[in-house]
């Protein structure tokens, strides 16, 4: 069974007033299969549709047509979310709560019993180096610290599938390395990871396979080992060729 399976997925956004509606095709006929324990990196220009695809997979947005399934269940299934974890680009948290409170809240939603919940929350905060600041209000946290809280909430439920949207966005070099180490640990633990990123270095170090999304279409999908030369050149060439083909 494929962990993530997308079939003929399309998403069209409708905007404007009823007398002047505008349709924007964010995703066009995407077909994608990601196997268990695979780390898949999705590359694309800004506005290509990467975040839209992830949001459909985690159930925040609904497809216009086609299907998406996670662990054999339709995307957005509530029970499946017990085995999923998601990190958005620039995570936001309730400003007046503390990391301890927000992680405890998420842990309750994961149905973790009392003692286990306390241990998991403490463990996650220790892992990301925020245990000492566990009782500080989140409004006092920097962008990088908030990202680390976001990473901490990934580690609560021992998920099987991870959706990471620009996980190293806004992080300093040290935190970036720490983040990558965590992802590599997850990979080593046999987790399936779907990664949206602009960072080619990340792709090189972490991914097994990459896909390139351009103007809502999945124009390329290949194992990393098949790419000869630099991934940057490969990416640029594919996107340019796609642009020329469309002209």
């Amino acid at each position: 069974m494929n962990t993530i399976e997308v079939k003929k997925l399309s998403k069209t956004y409708i905007s404007g007033h009823f007398w002047n509606k505008k349709r924007t095709a964010a995703l066009k006929n995407i077909n994608l299969k990601i196997k268990e324990k695979e780390v898949f990196g999705l590359l694309g220009l800004n506005g290509a549709g990467k975040t839209t695809l992830i949001k459909i997979l985690i159930g925040l947005v609904y497809p216009t047509s086609g299907t998406a399934a996670i662990l054999g269940k339709p995307a957005g299934d509530v029970e499946t979310r017990k085995k999923m974890a998601y990190l958005p680009e620039m995570p936001y948290f309730p400003r007046y709560l503390t990391p301890l409170e927000i992680l405890d809240f998420y842990a309750k939603l994961y149905e973790l019993p009392g003692k286990e919940r306390k241990e998991k929350v403490a463990g996650a905060l220790l892992k990301v180096g925020l245990y000492e600041k566990r009782n500080y209000r989140l409004k006092e946290f920097s962008k990088g610290m908030l990202q680390r809280v976001g990473i901490a909430q990934l580690l609560l439920n021992d998920a099987k599938v991870f959706f990471l949207d620009e996980p190293t966005y806004g992080l300093d070099p040290l935190s970036t390395k720490q983040m990558r180490d965590i992802i590599l640990e997850l990979k080593k633990a046999g987790k399936t990871i779907f990664l949206n990123t602009h960072q080619i270095n990340e792709v090189k170090q972490i991914c097994d396979r990459i896909g390139i999304l351009n103007n809502g279409e999945l124009i390329e999908e290949t194992p990393l080992k098949n790419i000869k030369g630099s991934i940057e050149s490969y990416f640029v060439k594919k996107v340019s060729d796609d642009g020329k083909a469309k002209l």
């Binding site: 925040l60 609904y62 509530v78 958005p88 936001y92 007046y96 994961y110 149905e111």
Partner: protein
């Protein structure tokens, strides 16, 4: 997911909501209420001879409803602004909780905030009444109870409108509008019954009258002076049922809209 687990998650969301409201100092509105009432009581002493007690109590309970409404709107605005505009909601909804469960949790949490606010306000009024040697009978407790039913219903349809509307401000404005219309039912009724009102206007107003929740049913503070003895318990049960059913329908609609909402 068992029902017990769903219920625990709803309570977790409720507790989180309560924490957020307390941290955002929504309850500071209570200080404004207390100051307004204490200041008002000193003024009323001078300005309303022969009716000081009555005026003080009327001001107290009218303020309670107003401040209760503002507390609800403020709490909902603060929480939903952060969730929708600042995208706090994304991480919560990717956890194993249904959107209906999440909405219910918010509703329960906001209800806790409201009941806490009204309880403190009631205690303040009782304190002022005690110091002013004003008698408060059991009917006043029923006045607060009926008021809280109306405000709980307000929470429900505000959450419903926010789920339906494309932006937060529209939802809140519409909710405030419905709250106002619901309080104008006596006026609406008079216009509908007036033979001079055009038929078209009558039809539109009648539609509004029957669709909007009738908040005058919960207004027992105007009836305190009309009744000798305790309010009719059957009436209290009827308005409780009315509030419960309307709240259920509002939340049902809200949950349908919220399930379809794209974030």
């Amino acid at each position: 997911m068992t029902e017990k687990q769903s219920f625990k998650k709803i309570l977790a969301v409720a507790q989180n909501t309560l924490n957020e409201c307390i941290r955002h100092k929504v309850l500071n509105i209570l200080f404004v209420f207390a100051l307004a009432l204490i200041g008002g009581s000193l003024l009323i002493e001078e300005l309303s001879p022969g009716a000081q007690g009555r005026t003080l109590i009327n001001v107290g309970y009218a303020n309670m409803e107003l401040f209760g409404f503002f507390t609800v709107m403020l709490a909902i605005f603060i929480i939903t602004f952060e969730e929708f505009e600042m995208r706090n909601l994304w991480l919560s909804l990717t956890k194993p909780i249904s959107r209906t469960g999440y909405l219910l949790g918010k509703f329960v949490g906001l209800t806790f905030v409201l009941l806490l606010t009204l309880s403190v306000m009631s205690l303040i009024i009782m304190g002022i009444a005690f110091l002013g040697k004003i008698d408060l009978n059991f009917n006043y407790l029923l006045v607060v109870y009926a008021m809280s039913l109306g405000l709980i219903l307000t929470i429900a349809f505000t959450l419903a409108f926010i789920s339906i509307a494309t932006n937060l401000t529209t939802g809140l404005i519409f909710s405030a509008f419905i709250f106002l219309i619901g309080h104008l039912t006596e006026h609406l009724q008079a216009i509908i019954e007036n033979p001079k009102t055009p038929v078209a206007a009558k039809s539109v107003l009648a539609l509004v009258y029957y669709l909007a929740p009738n908040f005058s049913l919960f207004n027992l503070k105007d009836k305190v002076y009309m009744n000798e003895g305790t309010f009719d318990p059957a009436y209290i049960l009827q308005i409780t049922l009315y509030a419960a059913l309307y709240t259920f329908l509002a939340l049902w609609l809200g949950s349908k809209a919220f399930k379809k909402k794209e974030l």
